[in-house]
């Protein structure tokens, strides 16, 4: 290597480091890949919110749908709630997992703020959440017709998240389901 070019080596190394650091600015370290992507939704048998009737995996699969983990103690869930109602109005099926919550408080929340969910799984002890690898509400899973988890979003689902990531995936799954 000519001696002149060697002089640029520190600059090149700096540029490389700067590139990595710059990339790091736009990465969210809290966004963990779910261990369950492309794996079937775990089996469960839990009461339906407000009733003693039990629901299982078969009750929330069969068509592409969102599975939203929420709780009344979760502040971000309240932020997210109006958008979930909008989605439900647009015809997106949403199932709820009421995670480590009080049934009465949860029912009151739904009565007051509206209920976007087709049904709610009352996961009082957080056991289903544990099987799902939930580490904090709200989390939203996209589950396909066969009950396979395709995507997990941690945090509030809003218009942007929906348009950028969830909607394209959801529509792809819905189209595949229709063409069958």
């Amino acid at each position: 290597m000519p001696a002149r070019l060697k002089l640029f080596l520190p600059l090149a190394l700096f540029a490389l480091l700067a590139l990595f650091l710059f990339r790091g600015l736009s990465l969210d370290p809290r966004e963990l890949p779910s261990a369950l992507i492309d794996r079937p939704l775990p089996e469960f048998s839990l009461p339906r919110l407000g009733e003693e009737q039990r629901v299982s995996r078969a009750d929330v699969t069969g068509r592409p749908a969102l599975l939203n983990v929420w709780a009344t103690w979760c502040v971000s869930c309240r932020v997210e709630h109006p958008f979930l109602r909008q989605l439900a109005e647009r015809g997106v099926p949403i199932y709820g997992v009421n995670y480590k919550d009080d049934d009465v408080a949860a029912q009151r929340w739904l009565d007051e703020l509206g209920d976007p969910y087709l049904l709610n799984i009352a996961d009082r002890q957080g056991s289903f959440g544990l099987d799902l690898g939930v580490y904090g509400a709200p989390e939203t899973y996209l589950v396909d017709a066969g009950g396979v988890i395709r995507y997990r979003h941690v945090g509030v689902v809003d218009e942007r998240v929906w348009q950028d990531t969830l909607q394209p995936l959801y529509e792809e799954l819905a189209a595949a389901e229709e063409s069958r």
Binding site: P29, R30, L32, P33, S34, A35, L36, K100, G126, L130, D131, L132, G133, V134, Y135, G136
Partner: protein, 162 residues
């Protein structure tokens, strides 16, 4: 007096943190299980708080995982079974000591590779330095050099004697 009070209070606060971090205690059926509980809870990472293990964290999820760990230990699960259980749900992320495989292989090999690269650079630099002796002199140049040296010496001697 009042001047002292604030720093003292602040210092007292430093100690308060370690006291309030008291975490639920479990009754183990054997001291061996308790030891394994300590080891595993120190090795499993809290998914919510990221830079703490589940033994140190007060996050609800860490509490749940400790409870689960306790139950699994009492039920007689092996360390490997417990680790697999956690990894199946939270991914390799949950282990502070990741397994030597797949995506984590770079984590294990990177220090050795970097050390090797550094050693190569050092060797290359040292070699470059040792080889830098300048060009050999030709016979004619040797003769001229000798001549110059003798002349300088005679001049020096002459100066000294004058």
């Amino acid at each position: 007096m009042n001047l002292l009070r604030l720093p003292v209070c602040l210092m007292a606060l430093l100690f308060a943190a370690s006291v309030s971090a008291v975490i639920e205690t479990y009754e183990f059926s054997s001291p061996e299980l308790e030891q394994r509980y300590q080891d595993l809870s120190g090795e499993l990472r809290c998914p919510k708080c990221q830079n703490q293990n589940i033994a140190d964290s007060n996050a609800p999820i860490a509490k749940d995982l400790r409870k689960l760990l306790y139950q699994q230990l009492e039920e007689g699960a092996s360390d490997a079974e417990i680790r697999d259980y956690m990894v199946a749900r939270y991914g390799e992320f949950v282990r502070y000591r990741p397994s030597f495989s797949g995506a984590t292989i770079i984590l294990w090999l990177a220090p050795a590779l970097l050390l090797l690269a550094a050693a190569l650079v050092v060797v290359a630099v040292l070699r470059g330095r040792a080889g830098r002796g300048g060009p050999e002199l030709s016979a004619e140049e040797q003769r001229r050099l000798q001549e110059l040296v003798t002349r300088a010496e005679t001049e020096e001697n002459a100066e000294r004697h004058s």
